[in-house]
């Protein structure tokens, strides 16, 4: 009689051993991790061919009786199994090597872990080594190209900035599209998308053990109402029992420059000629002559070689009863734009402790303090010459930033002010304290039954400070101004789960989980503005002569959830899981507040079938499929309530006006997802996965126009529909694997086809910013007038009207959907190759995005044919129309009415980018032994060193449809060292 109990929470395998027949000897030893020599608790030691076995204790030690001629099998999930002949020995110590990703790996899933072979859903894994020591603060930026189905588009080169992440396409038009982030069991608050409150930047990427990307219903439905956009589960490093605790120092230093600068701006000589030809300025001759002697490259005035440095000390270890991981890190990154930078100090303590064998508790805490400077009016904020990024291009080369004495010039003859001086004088600063952590307790009252309670918090507190210097051009009219604000937000999640495992007749393994969760969020802000400062030496609101404004807000939401999951497997051959979750949210009306989400997944391990068992070519093969529903509740708070605002006033008396009518039917967006996948390993060196998915979003929220006689404009209703269908493929290939030389390749590819399926009523198209929502076309399809070239007769631009006739007028009605040109790339992915030889390792990682289209709005202003000739322009414009018969790209200066966009500036923004290349060297162990260190690793790496793209703007990597003044992407060279003690 035998029974196997699986305690799913921590995955210890317990064996009730029976006495074996025959003569036995006592064998003992320790199972250790080959990587760091620490003991592996919970590893199984089984006498081959029998069911006799034990598991190792907290220190990795074991004892059992076996025949002297027996063979012992040592195994632990995530490690390569070893078989050792007893051969009469009484002590057998084994060190297990970490396995390649195989079917027995343990994967962190929703509310627990699962063996990889038992997973029926679609999960992408990003391991620590992919995330460590990359010179980027926010780990979401590093996820690009790491796993199929996940698209990550950087929001630019600003230090600390976030990335726009989409899992399996964009699933919503009006509600949020960001995946749910769960860090050590704590679901993070939705990110507002503001550059100021990226919740992920507080986490030191080096602390991350691995990331699971849950993509389909089976994997994610347990997160119910928040899972429609996929789930990213981040697990941080924890301590393991070890003879000796380890201590690691990691340091990195590097510099960044603009990754790509495609614009070839006019030189002084060219610009002055352009101004003369087009009569842009009238000047006395001597002024023309004196200007000709100046040639300033304003990119050099506004941009710099920016320094990045990072230092970190971490330690982990434990007795088995108590294990810890602790780290402290400092990260400092300058932006390439003067006055923009980012600094982070972070600390983490992860602790696990067994009070008794049945009761365990632990905590994960991450504290971070971030300080950021933003260049005033950078990025999308200012579409004028004060925008420092824009100014780097638009400033005329015959202007110089300083006078003969090296003092900043305040104003120029042709411009309002000196953008560099504005940068130096004004300040836009903020600092953020983030606390992210959880405490948990686990109790196993009887075997196979386990309860776990987890209390997590995601807290941040930030202050910002916008200062306009009294002597700056911007601050002059108010005699200096200071806006200071505070914002605090906290999300707490309290989760309790109970699990029960039951094994029937050995082969039937079942697991039932029931759980309950509450989520509470609040956010509040307060701030004020003062104007009139006697001196720039005082920079607090109380020093202002006039308090100008103050403001404050508060908002809350709650979610109440019941969750359950049932898994069943038969003989490690057939797997089934089903999950069900019921969520209620304060964001929806009483009658429609609750919704149910479910999923069913199946998987079949074909290798276990007799027809594959003997085929050596195929090492593993698994077929899986899932179906289910997930929801999206990422809309604002209180939107279902009919509300009056009291923020209006008249004659300084406060009044009330309605904000919106009650909308009691407002409810969740729902996605139906199904997924099929095939995983296999062949020739013992190639792992591949191919998947197909179909995600259909119904009851999608869309603001539907209502009669204006109601006093309202739109009402958000669950009315539209959209689909995302796609194929994902992943390949891992060990090209060469010898003792000395290892060469591998891995890559992934995603094709996602988005389609708007329905809008509302009979409405089939809806202009949506620079794009159009049209039934049958993908989201993000660009919507512009068709450009027909320059009229050779008079140099004026021509367009096509909506019927295809050439017309000299640009009319809004002639905009057409540019079919096949969406700013959301349908093809994307990444690939890397890694070579290791005698301590040296070379890794190159590429990412790509194909068939992506974007409006090069920057080029519009830099090759402007209406009124931007007063500023510097792209040298290509010199080739504009000059006389009848000229057949050229650029029309006569002054002939294009301002702010008219057309297909002239629509460009293919596909790219292939060498995201990272790293060469590292590990000191050999002989050397290490003499200097008594565990390891030393030296490396140089380059980030974004090479980009292939036809896009003529700054950078093809941009999350929107129209790129204007984006903070340019950077390329970074770094040198680093890791020292292990």
């Amino acid at each position: 009689m035998k029974r196997i109990f699986i305690i799913a929470g921590i995955l210890l395998f317990a064996f009730c051993n029976l006495t074996a027949f025959g003569q036995t000897i006592r064998i003992s030893g320790t199972v250790t991790d080959a990587a760091d020599g620490s003991g592996i608790p919970g590893a199984s030691v089984v006498v081959k061919g029998t069911t006799v076995g034990v598991i190792t204790n907290i220190d990795g030690r074991y004892e059992l009786n076996a025949a002297p001629t027996a063979t012992l099998v040592f195994s632990f999930v995530g490690y390569t199994t070893q078989e050792i002949l007893v051969d009469g020995k009484n002590i057998i110590n084994v060190s297990l090597a970490s396995a390649m990703i195989g079917l027995e790996e343990v994967i962190v899933m929703a509310y627990g872990t699962q063996r990889r072979d038992a997973i029926t859903g679609s999960v992408g894994i990003v391991s620590a080594e992919k995330l460590e020591q990359i010179p980027i603060a926010s780990f979401d930026q590093i996820l690009q190209g790491q796993t199929a189905g996940l698209s990550s588009v950087s929001t630019g080169g600003r230090p600390g900035s976030h990335s726009v992440i989409r899992i399996r396409g964009t699933g919503s038009i009006s509600a949020g599209n960001t995946p749910l982030y769960v860090i050590d069991g704590v679901a993070l608050t939705e990110h507002t998308g503001s550059i100021y409150d990226n919740p992920l930047s507080g986490i030191n990427p080096n602390d991350i053990e691995n990331i699971s990307v849950l993509k389909d219903a089976s994997a994610a439905a347990l997160f119910g109402s928040r899972a429609a956009n996929g789930v990213i589960i981040v697990t941080t490093k924890r301590g393991k029992a070890a003879d000796r605790s380890n201590l690691t120092y990691r340091g990195m230093y590097g510099t960044s420059t603009q990754a790509r600068d495609n614009f070839n701006m006019m030189t002084t000589e060219q610009k002055l000629q352009f101004e003369r030809d087009n009569k842009i300025y009238t000047r006395p001759d001597e002024v023309w002559d004196s200007l000709a002697t100046i040639n300033t490259n304003w990119r050099d005035v506004m941009f710099r070689d920016a320094v990045t440095q990072s230092h970190e000390i971490s330690s982990s270890g434990g007795t088995g009863k108590t294990n810890y991981f602790v780290s402290g890190a400092y990260f400092n990154q300058e932006g390439i734009l003067y006055r923009s930078d980012y600094e982070r100090i972070s600390g983490r303590l992860n602790l696990d402790h067994y009070i008794t064998e049945k009761i365990r508790f632990g905590a994960s805490t991450n504290l971070s303090y971030e300080k950021s400077n933003y260049a005033v009016a950078e990025g999308g904020y200012g579409n004028n010459v004060y925008n420092p990024i824009f100014a780097a291009y638009l400033m005329n080369p015959y202007e110089q930033p300083t006078d003969e004495d090296g003092e900043w010039i305040t104003q120029f003859a042709t411009y309002f002010g000196n953008p560099r001086r504005e940068l130096e004088l004004n300040q836009d600063f903020n600092n953020t304290l983030k606390i992210l952590g959880n405490v948990y307790a686990e109790w196993e009252p009887i075997k196979n039954l386990q309860f776990r309670s987890n209390y997590g918090t995601d807290f941040f507190d930030y202050t910002y400070d916008d200062y306009l210097h009294p002597e700056s051009v911007w601050g002059t009219s108010s005699n200096g101004s200071l806006t200071r604000g505070l914002r605090r937000a906290n999300t707490t999640t309290f989760t309790t789960t109970g699990r029960y495992n039951y094994v029937y007749a050995t082969k039937h393994v079942t697991n039932l989980m029931l759980g309950f969760e509450t989520t509470e969020h609040y956010s509040e802000s307060f701030g004020g503005e003062g104007i009139g400062f006697a001196s720039d030496k005082v920079r607090v609101p109380s020093a202002a002569s006039t308090p100008n404004a103050f403001f404050g807000s508060k908002t809350e939401f709650t979610v109440l959830s019941y969750l359950s999951q049932f898994t069943y497997s038969y003989d490690n051959k057939y797997y089934m899981d089903a999950s069900f979750r019921r969520d209620g949210s304060s964001r929806f009306g009483k009658e429609v507040r609750y919704a149910n989400f479910w999923s069913v997944g199946l998987s079949w391990n074909l290798k276990k079938e007799s027809f594959l068992a003997d085929i050596d070519l195929i090492n593993e093969m698994k077929l899986r499929g899932s179906i289910g529903t997930t929801g999206n509740y990422s809309i604002g708070n209180y939107l279902h309530l009919g509300l009056y605002s009291t923020s209006v006033s008249y004659n300084q008396v406060p009044g009330s006006v309605p904000i919106r009518p009650a909308n009691p039917n407002l409810t969740w967006e729902e996605s139906d997802i199904w997924n099929v996948g095939l995983e296999f390993r062949v020739l013992d060196r190639i792992n591949a996965t191919v998947e197909y998915y179909n995600r259909y979003t119904s009851s999608m929220l869309l603001g539907m126009p209502v009669t204006l006689t109601s006093g309202f404009v739109t009402e958000t209703r669950n009315i539209a529909e959209m689909s995302n269908k796609g194929i994902e493929a992943t390949l891992e290939f060990d090209i060469v694997r010898t003792d000395k030389f290892v060469w591998d390749f891995n890559g992934n590819f995603t094709y996602n086809k988005n389609r708007v399926e329905a809008l509302y009523g009979e409405i089939e198209e809806l202009p949506w910013g620079s794009t159009i929502l049209q039934v049958g076309l993908p989201l993000g399809t660009l919507y512009y007038n068709q450009y027909a070239g320059v009229n050779p007769a008079n140099g004026k631009p021509l367009w096509y009207d909506q019927y295809g006739n050439v017309t000299p007028t640009h009319r809004g009605d002639d905009k057409v959907p540019l079919e096949g040109k969406s700013y959301l790339a349908p093809y994307f992915g990444g690939f890397s190759s890694n070579m290791t030889y005698a301590g040296f390792q070379l890794n190159a990682f590429f990412t790509y995005s194909l068939d992506r289209w974007m409006l090069n709005n920057t080029a519009y202003f830099l090759s402007n044919q209406s009124n931007f000739g007063a500023y510097n322009q792209n040298a290509a414009v010199l080739d504009h129309w000059k006389e009848p018969g000229d057949n050229v790209h650029y029309p006569l200066y002054g002939t294009v009415p301002p702010s008219l966009f057309d297909t002239r500036f629509i460009e293919d923004a596909s790219y292939l980018r060498l995201r990272n290349i790293t060469l590292s060297y590990n000191l050999p162990s002989k050397v290490l032994q003499t200097i008594k260190l565990r390891n030393i690793r030296l490396y140089v790496q380059g980030q974004n060193l090479w980009t292939w793209s036809d896009y003529t703007g700054w950078d093809p990597e941009f999350p929107g449809a129209s790129e204007l003044n984006a903070y340019p992407a950077v390329k970074t060279y770094t040198f680093g060292i890791d020292i292990g003690l």
């Binding site: 009252p445 009887i446 039954l449 309860f451 009219s477 309790t496 109970g498 029960y500 029931l514 309950f516 509450t518 404004a549 807000s553 508060k554 908002t555 809350e556 939401f557 709650t558 109440l560 019941y562 209620g584 949210s585 304060s586 009483k590 507040r593 708070n637 209180y638 309530l641 009919g642 509300l643 009056y644 009291t646 923020s647 209006v648 006033s649 008249y650 004659n651 300084q652 008396v653 406060p654 009044g655 009330s656 006006v657 309605p658 904000i659 009518p661 009650a662 539907m704 126009p705 209502v706 009669t707 204006l708 006689t709 109601s710 006093g711 309202f712 404009v713 009402e715 409405i763 809004g812």
Partner: protein
């Protein structure tokens, strides 16, 4: 034995899980209300709530979509008193060039803002029977003000989006939907006659309810008389126009302004004859809530060049008497502009030291002078002597050393029309005067004027009636578009 053990396990499991589920907080946990807003069920309970609701209506009236700017500027640039300068910023260029369509922003914002005045006052009116705080006079004053403002918004809408009362057949011409409730129901257009009947009935009720003119930035009985006079004048109901205009003139609190008191109306938002004006706080002005920015150049000029968009018509300037105080009050000569030295209108160029931008000004919605000119026009059909007397009274207040020559017949009417144009220049009246009198106009190119400086519009042009906004056409199946405009 084994089974029993399992049963026990299951029992413990179920028991503990049940406990957790029982502790689940119920609906209270999910019933959240915002700390920064009031439920529509609780918005009208106390007297203070009603007062706040009324303030909300006034705040809507002063919005840029309505009297804060658009109700005036849209129509002033549409006719022949203003010329857009060469290279102007194209603000209100659509109206200036008469190229408006159902997609035009101002066509939408005026319609929406006026209906917001209507629905917001309706909420107050509909909750009013539940109000039991305050004195009866207080309660009636609140109801009366809300009703008058609601009537005014209906009247403005029907003037803009429908055929003129006198020019058409009001019993069958489509007006605008009469709205007395805030809801999302589709509403069809009432006839012009129905809208006018509603406006008159409501304004009269408001007049009977209100007992005081609280302040110049709130409406009271005098404003009700002024609106009724304006409505009857629009209809050509001269006896009633005389009745209500006389009631305004009889109110000694609002005598005609003269001399500096008249200039103060425009420079300091003060002056005896203002019956009702907006109260926009200095922090609430913006480019969209700034009636004069396009006439005087909004931002403080870096140099002495005024970046104006529109200059007054020379034809209009030549109509003023040399001794007319309005020349001083409304115009400044020898101003440097991007199109050379020009006369510009400074009607909305304040001296108020708190106004940091040029063009910031309170919008005057009712003034006593209008009552004089309404009554003069009305009397010209029945008693030319009294018509001459009203015209003389106004001109005496405006022109120093004025001596009146008695006029008769069409000459008298023409002088009254001319006086309206001079007095109400840039106050949104001339467009509706031309529309009411079924007249077109022709612009004469003048120095500095840009495209459309020679535009001529016939009296029969369909564009005198604005289109219904496309948004409304899409959202409301009962809505009918005005003739001449294409709706998709």
């Amino acid at each position: 034995m084994k089974i029993l053990k399992n049963m026990k396990t299951i029992k413990i499991f179920v028991a503990i899980v049940t406990v957790f589920f029982m502790t689940a907080c119920g609906d209270d946990f999910l019933n959240l209300t915002p700390p920064d807003a009031i439920s529509d069920q609780e918005a009208f309970e106390s007297l203070e709530d009603f007062q706040a609701g009324l303030i909300g209506v006034y705040a809507t009236i002063r919005g840029g979509g309505y009297y804060g700017k658009n109700m005036m500027v849209n129509f002033d640039v549409s006719v022949d008193d203003l010329y857009a300068v060469e290279g102007f910023t194209n603000q209100y260029g659509t109206q200036y060039g008469w190229t408006q369509s159902s997609e035009t922003g101002e066509v939408y914002s005026l319609f929406l803002t006026a209906y917001r005045v209507i629905t917001r006052s309706s909420n107050l009116i509909n909750f009013w029977p539940t109000l039991n705080e305050g004195t009866e006079a207080e309660r009636n004053q609140i109801l009366g003000e809300a009703k008058l403002l609601r009537a005014m918004a209906h009247f403005d809408l029907v003037k803009v989006y429908a055929k003129s009362y006198r020019a058409g057949n009001p019993a069958t011409d489509l007006g605008i939907p009469i709205v007395t409730k805030e809801n999302l129901e589709f509403k069809a257009r009432n006839t012009v006659q129905e809208v006018f009947d509603f406006v008159i009935e409501e304004a009269k009720e408001a007049l009977s309810l209100m007992t005081e003119n609280r302040a110049v930035f709130y409406v009271g009985p005098t404003a009700a008389n002024a609106l009724l006079a304006r409505v009857y004048h629009e209809m050509g109901d001269w006896p009633n126009a005389i009745t209500y205009a006389s009631a305004v003139i009889a109110d000694t609190n609002f005598p005609l302004s003269t001399g500096n008191n008249y200039i103060d109306i425009w420079r300091r938002d003060a002056g005896n004859e203002i019956i009702f004006r907006t109260a926009i706080h200095q922090t609430e002005f913006s480019n969209d809530v700034n009636i004069g920015s396009n006439y005087v150049g909004g931002n403080p000029p870096v140099s002495n060049v005024w970046r104006i968009d529109y200059i007054p018509s020379l034809e209009l300037l030549n109509l003023y008497d040399a001794n007319d105080i309005r020349l001083t009050a409304f115009y400044q000569e020898n101003v440097s502009t991007p199109v050379g030295t020009q006369v510009v209108t400074i009607k909305y160029n304040p001296l108020n030291p708190n106004y940091t931008q040029r063009g910031m000004n309170q919008v005057k919605i009712f003034r006593t002078s209008e009552a004089y000119l309404i009554r003069a026009e009305a009397y010209s059909y029945s008693n030319e002597g009294l018509a001459n007397a009203d015209l003389q009274a106004l001109r005496t207040a405006r022109i120093s050393g004025y001596t009146h020559t008695t006029l008769a017949g069409d000459a008298l009417k023409q002088e009254i029309y001319k006086e309206r144009r001079l007095e109400f220049a840039f106050e949104g009246q001339r467009f509706f005067d031309l529309k009411r009198r079924e007249l077109g106009f022709a612009r004469t190119p003048q120095p500095g004027a840009g495209p459309f400086g020679n535009l001529a519009i016939e009296a029969t042009d369909y564009r005198w009636i604005w289109p219904i906004p496309q948004h409304e056409m899409d959202a409301n199946p009962l809505m009918v578009q005005n003739q001449g405009y294409v709706s998709e």
